[in-house]
């Protein structure tokens, strides 16, 4: 029950599988000979490339400029020469315009990256400018441009910044390791975020299966004498979903169709907080991120700091390669991650994990008729009826699907996880959402 403890109603308890990697320190992944940096790694307008074949670049040099307000630039993540600018395989499954840089292995950074002692005096506008210029987009996986989230309209007063360290996806441990190894950076980043938002306070939500991280954060907070609170949350999926996290921590419910700022909150991932610190204090763009490489199909599961643009195949080589029986490669966690068909696709800003399942785990049993067991209705954290949505979409009754609030689905996958008839509910619902949105656009 949501009101008895720090949690939300609905949800599921999938096996965690975090033991595979949670005790491994973050290792540096050696940069590849060639990085492929897509101009679109975020939600919003794609950025525009500003380099050409043959240009020399240093680490941190922008290689594209924002394509609008809801957009962020990409940066060179190795020093070297631009080999080509062309569409390349992207984790989303399509080809996306990308800047390919040949690594000269000199690892040279651009000049103006370094500690800026004046950061305490920076005004809000300059901080936001630096965050956008650093190319920061939500690093929990949704990759919404961070500076946009930090610029609510003036009539929306934000009182609480919530930093998301729930990491409720099974297998993933990148946020966990980051909280242990970069505790101070996260908290300092939080300070900056609270200041920009003019928020009264900050809170961090961490699932109870990471008590060492909770302890580390609390200790550091006491040491630095910060006014922030760390919440140890129930281990339940999707505890780290924005609306469920807000519900658990401040006991407010974001209205359906609304945003966290409607209830005075902004949520940022722990990785984003750390990146914000680097961007504002060191003027360091987002050129790498922590990725959990895990699953039964990989020889050496571990957590790695990886340059953006590093092809998956290169990452796997550093982890002892894929096992013979590897059957499915997923970017992200097993509940919401994207299955990959091409291992040339690169690590992008939203790559929290690379999960390799073996063949046996890779395909689902045949779909059977729905027996109305109601497991999906009980599991849905959004108060929807996935069984009905699935059927509506199957029979192309998109109006009914809309009336049953299909657009409020957060695609967390809880319904499909519990379904004993093995119905691909998320698949149907995603398709139905697309159709409903298309219809709405046509009408307006």
């Amino acid at each position: 029950m949501a009101f008895l403890s720090k949690s939300f109603s609905g949800g599921i308890h999938p096996p965690e599988h975090k033991k595979l990697t949670e005790f491994f320190k973050i290792e540096n992944c050696p940069p590849p000979e060639e990085v492929v940096v897509p101009v679109q790694q975020h939600i919003g307008a794609p950025s525009r490339p500003i380099v050409e074949k043959g240009d020399a670049v240093l680490i941190g040099d922008p290689i594209s400029e924002s394509g609008g307000f809801v957009s962020v630039p990409s940066h060179a993540t190795v020093s070297g020469t631009v080999k080509t600018v062309e569409p390349r395989p992207h984790p989303l499954g399509t080809k996306v315009l990308s800047v390919v840089i040949e690594n000269d292995s000199e690892n040279k950074w651009r000049q103006d990256v370094g500690f800026d002692s004046s950061y305490q005096e920076l005004d809000k506008k300059e901080i936001l400018r630096r965050i956008q210029a650093a190319g920061i987009a939500g690093m929990g996986g949704a990759t919404f441009p961070t500076h946009v989230k930090l610029s609510p309209p003036p009539d929306k007063k934000i009182d609480t910044l919530i930093v998301n360290g729930a990491e409720c996806e099974p297998y993933l441990t990148s946020d966990h390791r980051l909280m242990l190894e970069e505790t101070e950076k996260i908290l300092r980043g939080m300070q900056i975020l609270v200041r920009v938002l003019g928020a009264k306070t900050g809170a961090i939500g961490v699932e109870k299966n990471k008590m060492d991280a909770v302890k580390a954060l609390r200790q550091k907070i006491a040491e630095l004498n910060l006014p922030y609170k760390v919440y140890a949350l129930h281990v339940k999926y999707p505890q780290g979903a924005e609306k469920q996290l807000i519900n658990a921590i401040v006991n407010r419910r974001v209205p359906a169709g609304g945003l966290p700022m409607d209830v005075g909150c902004v949520v940022q991932n722990v990785g984003t907080a750390a990146a914000v610190y680097d961007a504002v204090v060191y003027n360091r763009p987002l050129i790498d991120r922590v990725v959990t490489i895990t699953g039964n199909g990989i020889n050496k599961p571990q957590n790695m700091l990886i340059r953006i643009g590093t092809p998956f195949s290169h990452v796997f080589e550093q982890c002892g390669g894929l096992k013979e029986n590897a059957g499915k490669v997923i970017m992200g966690g097993p509940m919401m991650g994207l299955a990959q068909s091409n291992l040339d696709a690169p690590v992008i800003k939203g790559t929290s994990g690379l999960l390799v399942l073996n063949e046996k785990q890779s395909h689902r049993q045949e779909e059977q008729p729905c027996i109305s067991c109601a497991h999906c209705v009980d599991a849905c954290p959004m108060g929807l009826m996935p069984k009905m949505l699935g059927q509506f979409v199957k029979y192309e009754r998109f109006d009914s699907a809309q009336a049953y609030n299909i657009l409020d689905c957060i695609e967390c996958g809880s319904c499909a996880f519990v379904c004993p008839a093995h119905i691909n509910l998320v698949h149907w619902i995603k398709y139905g959402k697309l159709k409903v949105i298309q219809k709405q656009k046509k009408a307006s």
């Binding site: 068909s341 091409n342 689902r364 027996i371 109305s372 108060g383 009826m385 499909a416 519990v418 998320v426």
Partner: protein, 346 residues
């Protein structure tokens, strides 16, 4: 990169659950009550159970073959239907009856609607209703349950009325005392008193009744297992039984309001079997939180009305069948509230 990888929509991991797993778990939960039935009613009960199951599975397999559908007769659902049908007939019925009942249950109760998942009503109960309407005498002669140790054949079993039968006729006499001799009224009162004194027998199952419905304790053991496995919830059975208990306490007595015996009403007849194993049938009960509450309350109200003033002594199966028909509407009326609620202008 030559190797091809599986690609599919998320999620990529699943609970280790399946329809056969659910069905066979429910069958397993019903086994103790079956063993109890064989102990009390003799090997004839076992024959009835086996015949009903074989008939159900054979009917489903045959029809799937005729309809050129994939063969899923072994997914456990037909076995469960056959088992429940057997539990819902008297132990003295001729052996062809469970076969016919299972055939009707599967053919008309399930397959004509499209098979598993599409049937509007509980097939086993529909089969029972069919048998009851067609051969009422066979279906309403009950044998007394005394441990037989497997030595007495079905033919010379003693017949007796079920506790609910006795209650119904006794209450009928007490309601119109002027039509009966004082002797008869006194006997009726004594009969009710005797019923209320034998609650322990009801609990253990030493009474007349259908094969699977008599032993409350064995049914509860299975139900507890299913609840632990989360294949049945508390909402339908508890509201069902609670409603029957409340109404029978208030209106069930012969000496005015609040003189009824709710414990007797809970323990007798098919209430425990119906509330935990048949009203909770996934296909035919609502999927929403409130829907399940209303469903249980509706079942309880209809059951009590039939028991108290209807023509039959027992109303559990009809109450469930009637509420089954309301299930789609209940689901529509009780849609859960979307997280955060809807904004007014939408």
């Amino acid at each position: 990169m030559d190797k091809k990888y599986f690609v599919s929509s998320s999620p990529h991991v699943f609970a280790n659950d399946s329809i056969p797993k659910i069905m066979y778990t429910v069958v397993l939960a019903l086994v103790p009550a079956g063993i109890g039935a064989i102990y009390y009613f003799g090997p004839r009960a076992l024959w009835i159970i086996l015949i009903a199951i074989v008939s159900a599975v054979a009917t489903e397999a045959l029809l799937q073959k005729l309809m050129k559908r994939s063969l899923t007769a072994w997914d456990g659902s037909a076995i469960l239907t056959g088992l429940l049908l057997a539990y819902n007939v008297a132990p003295s019925v001729p052996l062809w009856m469970p076969a016919v009942g299972s055939f009707f249950a599967i053919a008309v109760g399930k397959m004509v609607f499209g098979g598993l998942g599409y049937n509007p009503m509980n097939p086993a109960l529909l089969g029972r209703a069919f048998l009851l309407a067609s051969w009422p005498t066979h279906m309403t002669i009950f044998t007394d349950a005394v441990p037989r140790g497997g030595t007495v054949s079905g033919i010379d079993m003693m017949t007796n009325a079920t506790p609910l039968n006795v209650l119904k006729s006794a209450q009928g006499i007490l309601a119109n005392p002027q039509q009966f001799t004082p002797e008869q009224t006194r006997e009726a009162g004594e009969a009710i008193g005797k019923l209320y004194d034998s609650l322990d027998k009801l609990f253990m199952g030493q009474i007349g009744g259908c094969i699977g419905e008599t032993s409350v304790i064995l049914l509860l053991i299975g139900a507890a297992y299913l609840m632990y496995k989360r294949y049945i919830g508390w909402k339908v059975p508890f509201t069902f039984i609670g409603t029957v208990a409340l109404l029978s306490w208030i209106f069930g007595g012969t000496e005015g309001l609040f003189t009824g015996n709710p414990i007797f009403h809970i323990l007798s007849g098919g209430l425990i079997l119906g509330a935990f194993y048949m009203a909770t049938d996934m296909v035919t009960s609502p999927v929403t939180f409130r829907g399940r509450l209303y469903f249980g309350i509706g079942c309880g109200m209809i059951t009590f009305v039939i028991r108290r003033i209807g023509g039959y002594p027992e109303g559990v199966s009809y109450s469930i069948l009637l509420m089954n028909l309301l299930t789609p509407l209940l689901d529509r009326w009780t849609r859960p509230k979307v997280f955060g609620g809807r904004k007014k202008n939408e």
